[in-house]
């Protein structure tokens, strides 16, 4: 039999089986903890830290998506310290990443009164859009490095290992090995990475074409070389909608 753990979240007593994360335990009593990099179908890695909570007696804030419950734990999910941390995370994200395709993060910025202009001196992370195959495009200017795409390409779903991290620190990005085009990698174009991408950095090609102003008839009339994309990776001319 699984052991039952009792704890308190936002002053509400909660009893859940051992092994539950704080995130999951909070859900059982209807407390929503915001998440960005967490996905039910992926292994959690506590990368974005938006789900941090305050646990009594802990020195640092604790990421709720990976931290497991323990007996007698007292958790604050929306204390001032937590709110400030989340707001700062959102402000740093918006100062470096193009969040225009991330309505959920934009809504969070609103909720936490995050100021998009808080870090005016920051360098945005800008990359050329990669259009090198007929199935999906990669716009890493929109990427927040949540790791989901890398994980579903590996043990979380496909065991394909076509993409991974490259570079270090601020220059970290998702890439293919040696920066080769996707068709030349082990990619099987299952599109699982597109399905779990939270920010529109990965997008089905026909959706992208529709958004850049092509009509369905124009899309279905593209030539093979246009469908295959730009192998030399020069940003294609965008049509205005």
């Amino acid at each position: 039999m699984t052991e039952i753990i009792s704890l308190t979240i936002d002053s509400i007593p909660v009893s859940v089986p051992s092994g539950f994360t704080i995130l999951k335990a909070a859900e059982t009593v209807g407390i929503q903890i915001p998440t960005i990099c967490f996905h039910e179908a992926c292994t959690s890695n506590a990368l974005c830290r938006i789900c941090v909570v305050e646990v009594e007696g802990a020195r640092t804030l604790i990421p709720a998506c990976v931290a497991q419950v323990s007996e007698g734990m007292i958790v604050q999910t929306h204390s001032d310290r937590v709110q400030r941390a989340r707001r700062t995370i959102l402000e740093m994200l918006s100062s470096t990443v193009d969040l225009t395709d991330s309505p959920e993060i934009l809504a969070m910025m609103n909720d936490y009164h995050a100021d998009p202009e808080r870090f005016p001196e920051s360098n945005p992370r800008e990359f050329d859009l990669l259009d090198d195959n007929p199935m999906y495009v990669r716009d890493y200017s929109k990427c927040i490095l949540c790791w989901r795409c890398v994980q579903v390409c590996a043990e979380d779903a496909q065991y394909t290992h076509a993409i991974n991290f490259s570079q270090r620190g601020f220059d970290t990005r998702i890439d293919t090995f040696y920066h080769i085009t996707l068709p030349e990698t082990t990619c099987v174009f299952c599109g699982q990475c597109v399905a779990v991408c939270p920010t529109g950095a990965l997008k089905p090609k026909r959706q992208w074409l529709l958004e850049t102003g092509y009509s369905p008839i124009e899309i279905m009339s593209l030539t093979r070389s246009k469908r295959n994309g730009n192998k030399s990776r020069i940003q294609p001319e965008r049509k205005l909608p």
Binding site: E40, D101, N133, P134, P183, F189, A195, P204, R206, L210
Partner: protein
């Protein structure tokens, strides 16, 4: 960022896994496909075909009005018309009247033997039920078949003989309950990609052990504990040698044999000759590997076998499948969670089309046409006079083609199939197609086969109609209309009902068999009244999650795995086996074995995927050749080669790869300009009538670039 006008949940139209799709629609255009992460079959995972391959729906080659040929065609001088220039658009009224008139006349002149129909494993259960009903009731013909004959017929016949039911015994996702599983004659990674993911998870996360028995070094071999690289067509020897070892070492399940099976003694006797040494000589598989595989399978707590077309597509396809069934019966690895016999069905609805009676020997529900009380039941339901339905089992797919001619089959109705790509020995098939008097094609495109038709009836795609598909693990799932029919295209079930009423009028039938359906759910209800396994399947019960047949009544929850208490035929029957070589073996003139199959990015005859952006990822046919053979023949990677068999010749590029084994070349059969089936042999399994696609003898020679049919198309790929 754009938002959808609507999101429609439906079932994938490609393989038998039956993944749930959500089609995102804007302005009647599907721009994105997602899958819910709680979907029961695929847990949100899709492959390239399901995720991106739906765009054939909008291909500009879609035919959207009924058409007839500009030049009337005559038997013997029929010519193909692949482009629109040879066709004239007409109204539905004109087209259906014409078809009804021509079919009725041929039937009245030559009788039921002149009529034949190819049903469609891509179409819904409802479409197939109605099509077989039309041919049985109006033309009194059982010449009704579909592509199951070309894929799993050997498995179906063997399973019927041995256990009495011919579907997968497990739910595909049960693979995580296997301790040991065998994959044979199946490249799961490319052909059932989502099941392959579950298999890999079973190995990597749940500790299952995999035994691959296959002449190709398929991708799953990377995850396997044992790989038995047999020569193509030697399955009976390998699996019977495993049975021999299990018998010798007394690893069998005596209790299971005593209580659940029959005919053990004569089977055991027939296994004596299959020593591992004998099997090694026949199959080329190291005897030690056979012994290890036998011990692993027999001593596992839960073991299951998964196979696809490498087993049935053979002149001894039924025997191949029986050799697997014997193993399961011998060890009792069946009838429990995580144990069983699992033919992985190819088409999205091949299970359903077979269940719906698109078969020459069976009414819906595998009820034999030559059994009097069953025929009477169908006569009562379909309003036919007693004794009216034909008791004579009909012709199979391949037999229909061979029977074309004076005194034989004169007319052919092709619903969605593409025999001019999928039949073996295509040069012979073409000759037979030319001899037909009247051909109707009901399809989306002028396929290689529809090009031979007199009349083209434009049907809708999966995204434009309602219905049900039954997937490989017997789950009946909803197909939903997401967009309006394109042009004048109509759902197949409506075309059939409209046509049947007209034919009834032409034939002067006053007692209608019932064609006034308002909705496909009514068709499934009629089928359920005749097929006990489908009695409890109702549209309102499968709105969210499909039910797994058998579903005997409306409160039954469905059946995740079969044979828990008994087999449908009572006891499971062992079958004694003898090794029979393939019909055509390599010799000096044709030194290589050709085996055919599919690739991840394409689907069967390619009529959908060659009209999709999928073909940009895999644009040309390629022959796989082992490096040792490449050296022997002086062929380099990407060289154009001519491949010749006793029946025909094609030119395509070579890929030098260890995916194939020495002495064996592999060619996918999707590509019209280098159609592998021009080479294949039309030798049949005597029981199942399935052709031997997996083994024939060929010769290969290096040729020049200018002999390639499509030299410009080339896409470097890095995937396995």
């Amino acid at each position: 960022m754009i938002s959808p006008d609507s999101i429609t949940t439906t079932t994938c139209p490609f393989c038998g896994v039956g993944c749930t799709l959500q089609l995102h629609i804007r302005d009647q255009f599907i721009y994105k496909v997602t899958s819910p992460f709680d979907s029961i079959v695929n847990h949100g995972n899709l492959c390239v075909k399901g995720r991106f391959g739906y765009d054939y729906v909008f291909n500009r080659e879609r035919i959207t009005t009924p058409m007839i040929r500009k030049t009337p065609q005559k038997p013997g001088s029929r010519v193909p018309a692949p482009t629109l220039e040879d066709w004239t658009s007409i109204t539905w009224e004109e087209a259906l009247e014409l078809v009804a008139d021509r079919l009725a006349r041929i039937y009245q002149r030559d009788g039921s033997g002149a009529m034949a129909v190819y049903c469609c494993a891509k179409a819904t259960n409802e479409d197939n039920y109605l099509m077989q009903k039309m041919y049985r009731t109006l033309f009194r013909s059982n010449n009704i078949d579909h592509c199951t004959r070309l894929c799993h017929a050997g498995s179906v016949v063997a399973l019927q003989m041995a256990v009495g039911s011919s579907a997968m015994s497990n739910t595909a996702s049960e693979v995580i309950h296997n301790d040991v599983f065998i994959v044979t004659g199946s490249n799961v990674t490319e052909n059932h990609p989502i099941i392959a993911l579950q298999m890999k998870a079973a190995i990597e996360k749940h500790g299952a052990k995999l035994i691959v028995v296959d002449p190709r070094r398929i991708e799953l071999v990377n995850y396997a504990t044992l790989w038995l690289p047999e020569k193509p067509g030697t399955d009976v020897a390998v699996f019977s040698a495993m049975a021999h070892v299990i018998l010798q070492e007394k690893l069998y399940n005596q209790e299971f044999i005593d209580t659940r099976t029959e005919n053990f003694a004569s089977f055991a006797e027939s296994m004596e000759k299959f020593t591992p040494e004998f099997a090694e000589i026949i199959s080329g598989v190291d005897r030690e590997l056979i012994i290890q595989a036998a011990r692993m399978y027999a001593t596992a707590k839960n073991a299951a076998i998964y196979w696809a077309l490498g087993i049935p597509e053979s002149v001894h396809g039924t025997d191949n499948a029986l050799s697997l069934i014997n193993l399961a019966l011998l060890t009792g690895q069946i009838g429990r969670l995580g144990t069983g016999l699992n033919p992985l069905r190819g088409q999205n609805n091949v299970q359903g089309a077979s269940d719906a009676g698109a078969m020459p020997w069976h009414y819906p529900g595998y009820q034999r046409v030559d059994q009097e009380e069953i025929a009477r039941k169908y006569e009562t339901c379909w309003n036919i006079e007693p004794g009216g339905l034909n008791r004579e089992p009909g012709l199979t797919t391949t037999e229909i083609m061979s029977a074309v001619g004076e005194g034989g089959v004169r007319s052919l109705y092709i619903m969605g199939e593409n025999p001019m790509m999928s039949e073996p020995n295509l040069n012979h098939t073409r000759h037979q197609m030319e001899q037909l008097e009247f051909i109707v094609a009901q399809d989306l495109f002028i396929t290689e086969s529809a090009a031979y038709a007199d009349v083209f009836l434009p049907a809708v795609s999966f995204a434009e109609k309602d219905g049900t598909f039954t997937n490989t693990d017997r789950r009946v799932q909803r197909v939903r209309r997401a967009i309006d029919p394109i042009g004048q295209a109509r759902p197949d079930w409506q075309i059939i009902c409209d046509l049947a009423l007209r034919i009834e009028k032409k034939l002067g039938i006053t007692q209608s068999s019932g064609w006034n359906f308002q909705d496909p759910s009514e068709v499934l209800a009629e089928m359920g009244s005749l097929v006990p396994e489908y009695r409890g399947v109702k549209y309102d019960r499968i709105e969210k999650v499909g039910l797994q047949t058998p579903v005997p009544d409306e409160s039954h929850p469905g059946t995740p795995y079969l044979f828990r208490d008994q087999f449908p035929r009572g006891r499971g029957k062992f079958h004694p086996l003898t090794y029979i070589p393939s019909a055509e073996l390599p010799d000096e003139e044709y030194p290589m074995i050709l085996t055919t199959g599919r690739v991840l990015e394409h689907w069967h005859g390619g009529s959908m995927t060659r009209r999709s952006w999928l073909s940009d990822l895999f644009p040309e046919a390629r022959m796989e050749l082992h490096p040792t053979d490449a050296t022997r023949f002086g062929i380099h990677h990407d060289d154009p080669v001519r491949v010749t068999s006793r029946r025909g010749t094609i030119v395509l590029r070579a890929s030098i790869t260890e995916k194939t084994t020495p002495g064996v070349v592999f060619i996918p059969f999707h590509f019209a300009v280098a159609a592998a089936n021009i080479l294949t042999i039309d030798a049949l399994d005597p029981l199942a009538k399935i052709p031997e696609y997996k083994v024939c003898a060929v010769n290969i020679t290096k040729v020049t670039e200018d002999e390639l049919p499509d030299p410009g198309s080339h896409q470097p790929r890095g995937r396995y």
